[in-house]
Symmetry: C2
Subunit: 225 residues, 2 copies
Amino acid sequence: MKMKLQVIMNDDLFLRDPEHTELGRNIVKYSIQYIHQFGFEAFTFKKLAEDIGTTEAGVYRYFENKHRLLTYITAWYWSWLEYQIVFQTNNVNDPVIKLKKVIKLLATAVQDDDQTSHVNEKLLHNIVISEGSKVYLTKQVGEDNKQQFFKPYKELCSVISAIILECSPKYKYPRSLATTIIEMAHLQNFFMNNLPSLTDFSKTKEDSDIIAFLNDLVFSSIKKR
Amino acid sequence: MKMKLQVIMNDDLFLRDPEHTELGRNIVKYSIQYIHQFGFEAFTFKKLAEDIGTTEAGVYRYFENKHRLLTYITAWYWSWLEYQIVFQTNNVNDPVIKLKKVIKLLATAVQDDDQTSHVNEKLLHNIVISEGSKVYLTKQVGEDNKQQFFKPYKELCSVISAIILECSPKYKYPRSLATTIIEMAHLQNFFMNNLPSLTDFSKTKEDSDIIAFLNDLVFSSIKKR
DNA sequence: TTATAGATGATAGTATTACTATTATATACA
DNA sequence: TGTATATAATAGTAATACTATCATCTATAA
């Protein structure tokens, strides 16, 4: 069985749908590579165009600016991740096992998914770790939110908070705990690799330590008392 | 009693010490105002210079670039906050009360501190919430770390993790829990005000709700079991 | 088969940003 | 009085973040 998985994106995120053309898919593909390698600050449409063999104006036909492109690829990531979670927790009845799977998915280095040829999920995962919060930490956050740019993130948060409530129906902070899990899965990874003394994982640098930390944090909080 | 409180800064953070001159103090003061009002992306040394009534080159004599300036003011904030914590938890014997005070200090809107005339801590607190993580979420994080730019943040993390261990000597993740408290105190505030559906505080929008959430999170985790 | 819409390429141009350099002036202090 | 220090004024450069125009190529509907 060979399937192609297509993420449906909010079409206010782009000017021309990058999924529809070779150039569009290349823009997404090479953006991910460039941002991963040199960081979002160093990333420009001109340099990207050179990498692809098109022109700056060519890229601008697809995305309004580089911030919008970052918003696009992170939104794509959250949608993809929600799908992974829904898929992998399907038919699991025990909500505790579900939540553990979620934590594991969030905190584990991703494998590139062959179903989506032009997106390297492994690189994208790393981008979301180090650049993801720049998407909303801006003065336009309100307007971007009105245009539903953060819907995939919010949906993921909803899914996780629903699982939390399944585990512990009376827990009072399911959404805040959900964002805590998401953000900390990423931030502890960033700290572990870049500012290790801010974590307790500096010796091993293992994803599994972060998972253990998050499991401990989450399940002691939501345990019925 | 009228005291002047001076934060000693790592002098690799600036080219010329802004505390020493009127212009320097103005650069810090007006940067904080500008970044608070328009955000870090819109902030340039040219616009700042116009606000102050000096020239772009004048600002460059104090700081290498705007990222370095942001690093400076956030480092200043963390140092100042650590002092507040040490001061306010002094003579408190019960580590649980200490930790609660820490959480409260982290999650409460700050009052402007008259002891530091040219820094508006209230605005700076908001800047650290919305721009603070941009300081380390860069490709230069390793080099900046070598130059000790994040020492104040790390010290704060150490102080908090020491209190956590006082509460619960066997707790395995004191540092990661400390950064979780710090980051979540800020991020839940940002979400509450900008993307409220990601939190459980959208109705009240009260700092006290965030404090309650963090207290619940922290004390259920470190409780002896 | 032709007309045409859609996508791309090539080129040019602008305002702003992120700096660096130089020179002159003001002040401070020894 | 001389000298160091800080600042102001000005100029200049390379890169960034766009916008605009026009020619070409290609797929497909008339």
